[in-house]
């Protein structure tokens, strides 16, 4: 244990023991990592509905262009529910922004990272509990700014490419909207950065005795690698965001070339370079794709091992491939820019690195299947969502090879093929993994189980509706249907796609409503679910020796770790159980097995 815990930890708990903390400090301005994690989860689940509602607006317009949208139409638009084109571009902008910055990144790092890191490494709390609390509360100004941006009509895409994003006259309503948007991005960046610093410090310094690096669960490895990615990639986005704010408000020209005439305004004086933004943005946002995936890869490995009652197949190759993904993740950003007009030589280099990043992903997939092979499979909600994660990740991973190959990307770039690809990764893989993780660690959050029955119903509907919504997008992309068109049927070669788009929209609506099942299951189970003991899944990580839910300070006594994280079905397991808890002192120190 480090000096850090020694100081902050003991002071906290001494205070906690003497005076019961009030409601505010316990549930609102809490410094307890579990409460902060749950706060992140609630907030991001709410944002999931906001982002989802925006997606339904997009889908409605693609299925019934210019027809008034029932219910939600009135929230988006002011013309009797009809979605005008500038609202449509706002919808796609804010859908992407909210899903990336306010749902997926914070639910993984902020939600599950907070909840799991101290519990799985045997620490009392994070290294910096106050910083941790701040990282949650910095989300709120970001949310406010994003909502203001939505209201003001930010409409430059979630990538905010200059010159469209920089010059206020380039888009209706963009007077302040993009500035709000940029402030929102900067603030979520600060929130993530505070989290990342905290996670790195905690994982390096506060592991329980015996928890060597190669005894850490893969979730912790994934969170660690994610934190490194965030810490080193985010400053680039923050800097770029400040540069764009200064272009918009102070009259600098980082991203504005000379002689640009927008909307009959005077030509810009310029001298800047719009491609610079694309480089800086993707230097963060490509690693961010892995920030949105790696933690789930780790959590799914943990859950699959438990539900198959088998050690993870190839624990070290799993870690190495995550490291490889993170390392290569830093040098693949240019594949978003193959046709942007950057030096074509770079296209070749970025193609090699991008195609190679498929390799560690493939290795991980093979290892997940290896983990399931010969296991005693429990087909519960957790397992189903994890298998869906693997199955959807295979689709998303393989379709990625087309766009990594730069000549083929010339055709696919900015078509619905890309939309299909990243939804298979970010929704298909990440969100199914998150659904599994919510069910799996729910008993540790609330001391109760989520309903299996409703969990399976939710999974079944979501899985089918998801594939009906997103698989046809590959085919739309094959037809060369571009993204972000308010009315694709304006083009004769796309007219015949309308019926298919209507099917997809109805599937999306069903999928949207199915998420209400999840939300209700989550909320109702938290007070009315079946009570859970300390270790309802017979799992062997440290979090399962703490009470459910663990008190402030987590463990009864500081745990000592004797073995690796996946000793399921060990032949010498103690009587009555088929696994070794990491902290079980019986059996003594086991040799490291890989």
């Amino acid at each position: 244990m480090s000096a850090v815990t020694g100081m902050t930890g003991s002071v906290d708990h001494a205070a906690g023991a003497h005076a019961a903390p009030g409601f505010l400090s316990r549930y609102v301005f809490s410094r307890d990592h579990k409460v902060i994690g749950i706060q992140f989860m609630f907030t991001t689940l709410l944002m999931l509905f906001v982002g989802g509602a925006l997606a339904l607006g997009i889908r409605w317009q693609l299925a019934y262009p210019w027809e008034p949208m029932p219910l939600l139409g009135n929230a988006f638009a002011d013309e009797g529910g009809q979605i005008p084109p500038e609202t449509y571009t706002m919808l796609l902008t804010m859908h992407g922004t909210i899903m990336v910055f306010l749902v997926i990144i914070p639910i993984l790092a902020g939600g599950f990272g907070n909840l799991l890191i101290p519990l799985q490494i045997g620490a009392e709390d994070m290294a910096f509990p106050t910083l941790n609390m701040l990282s949650y509360w910095f989300m709120w100004p970001a949310i406010v700014f994003f909502m203001l941006a939505m209201h003001a009509g930010a409409a430059a895409g979630w990538t905010a490419y200059p010159v469209l994003a920089v010059l206020p006259q380039a888009a209706p309503g963009s007077g302040v909207a993009q500035t709000y948007w940029l402030l929102g991005v900067t603030l979520v960046g600060i929130s993530s950065l505070m989290g990342a610093v905290n996670y790195m410090t905690t994982i390096i310094n506060m592991r329980a005795p015996g928890m060597t690096l190669f005894r850490m669960p893969l979730t912790i490895w994934a969170m660690f690698i994610t934190a490194i990615l965030q810490a080193f990639a985010l400053p680039m986005l923050t800097a770029a965001g400040l540069m764009q704010i200064s272009d918009r408000t102070l009259g600098t020209c980082f991203f504005i070339p000379a002689g640009i005439i927008v909307n009959n305004a005077d030509p810009t004086v310029g001298g800047g370079q719009p491609l610079l933004w694309q480089h800086l943005f993707w230097f963060y946002s490509h690693p961010a794709v892995y920030i949105m995936l790696l933690p789930v890869m780790g959590m799914v490995s943990d859950m699959l091992a438990c539900m198959c009652r088998k050690p993870v197949f190839g624990y070290k190759p799993m870690i190495h491939s995550m490291g490889a993904i993170a390392g290569l993740g830093f040098i693949v950003w240019g594949h978003h820019m193959f046709i942007s007009g950057m030096n074509p030589m770079l296209g070749m280099a970025f193609m090699i690195s991008t195609i190679l990043i498929a390799l560690p992903s493939a290795v991980k997939t093979f290892n997940w299947i290896g983990t399931m092979w010969g296991g005693r499979l429990q087909f519960n909600t957790v397992m189903l969502n994890c298998v869906a994660f693997v199955s959807m990740f295979v689709v998303g991973g393989l379709s990625g090879i087309f766009m990594a190959a730069v000549p083929v990307d010339v055709f696919f770039h900015d078509t619905y093929f890309i939309v299909a690809h990243f939804h298979y990764v970010l929704f298909g893989a990440t969100l199914f993994g998150v659904y599994g993780a919510l069910h799996f660690w729910f008993p540790k959050m609330f001391g109760r189980m989520m309903s299996e029955f409703w969990g399976k119903i939710h999974f079944f509907i979501t899985f089918i509706a998801f594939n009906l919504t997103f698989f046809p997008m590959h085919l739309l992309g094959m037809q060369g249907m571009p993204r972000r068109l308010a009315d694709p049927y304006h083009y004769s070669y796309l007219e015949h796609l309308l019926p298919l788009n209507q099917v997809m929209t109805w599937a999306a609506i069903v999928m949207g409503f199915a998420q209400i099942i999840l939300f209700l299951n989550f909320v109702i189970s938290s007070f009315a679910g079946r009570k859970a003991g300390r270790n309802p899944w017979n799992a062997n990580g440290l979090e399962w020796i703490a009470p459910s839910p663990p008190p402030h300070g987590n463990f009864d006594v500081t745990p000592v770790v004797y073995r690796g994280p996946y000793e399921y079905s060990a032949p010498d397991a103690p009587d009555g159980q088929d696994y070794w808890l990491q902290s079980d002192e019986r059996g003594g120190q086991m040799a490291e097995r890989h």
């Binding site: 070339p257 198959c308 624990y315 074509p344 190679l356 299947i369 070669y493």
Partner: protein, 267 residues
């Protein structure tokens, strides 16, 4: 029982995905138009697409068969049978790292050639001629040609010929356009030719292609450029060499026609 049901769900998904791709061409859900790329570079892009498609189809089937097998096996296993206690297999790890690695690297290297001929100046066709300057702006395509028998210069010339949203090119000959934008970013996209290139503010980018069949094709803006992005529609008309020359001559004459009839110009 339940396990087998869920196994089937995943297997059926994989089978349905394959089936959807297999029947897609019959429902006009494969490559646009005739399904055949109508430019030389487009045909080579399609070829690369099919090479990758074969590789990933094999991998997709393989992985899903493996996944279906382990799930099915797990589902029918009696619950008292213990799981296999294994931490992995070094040989397998090496095999499934090295083989995909080699395949992926080969795929990457195989792409280089087409990219070089599409984008690298040194590999452009020798007899390529820049025939038009295409200027994108919110939300239209402005096109400038040199007068008949003249060459296009970077700066506009008084006898240049202009069209809007109507790009005409001769077929069976490599031609280039000089792509620029007056305001924000746009992208020049002709799906049936498989050609796409962003128009970057402050830059002038050459885009070459050789159309192989006369016809009229949609010209699409593929990069978000503002509220009217969806209606930034143009067309590319590919004409035979003679038709093109005749059209250019006619366009030139129409543009510089002062509206005064031949006979009235006597003095």
């Amino acid at each position: 029982m339940e396990g087998r049901f869920w196994t089937l769900v995943f297997v059926i998904f994989a089978a349905a995905a394959l089936a959807a791709c297999a029947v897609a061409p019959a429902y006009q859900l494969w490559f646009p138009g005739s399904g055949e790329a109508l430019s030389t570079i487009g045909a080579r892009i399609d070829h690369l697409f099919y090479v990758i498609l074969v590789v990933i189809a094999v991998v997709f089937v393989g992985v899903n068969v493996a996944l279906g097998y382990v799930l099915w096996r797990g589902a029918k296993q009696p619950s008292e049978v213990k799981a296999v206690y294994s931490h992995g297999n070094q040989t397998l790890e090496v095999v499934w790292t090295v083989i995909p690695g080699v395949i992926l690297l080969a795929l990457a290297l195989y792409q280089m050639d087409v990219w070089a001929s599409f984008r690298m100046r040194e590999f452009y066709p020798q007899d390529m001629r820049t025939i038009a300057e295409v200027t994108a702006r919110q939300f239209e395509w402005r096109i400038r040609y040199a007068a008949p028998d003249k060459t296009l210069e970077a700066d506009p010339h008084p006898d240049d010929v202009y069209t809007v949203n109507d790009l005409r090119v001769p077929v069976n000959r490599p031609v280039a356009i000089s792509l620029r934008t007056e305001d924000v970013q746009h992208a020049f996209f002709v799906p049936e030719l498989r050609i796409k290139q962003d128009a970057l503010p402050g830059k002038r980018i050459p885009v070459w292609f050789e159309v192989t069949r006369p016809g009229t094709y949609d010209l699409v803006c593929a990069e978000l450029c503002g509220w009217g992005h969806y209606k930034m529609k143009g067309r590319l008309v590919a004409l035979s060499e003679e038709d093109y020359a005749a059209w250019l001559k006619q366009a030139f004459e129409d543009q510089f026609d002062d509206g005064v009839g031949e006979g009235e110009k006597s003095d």
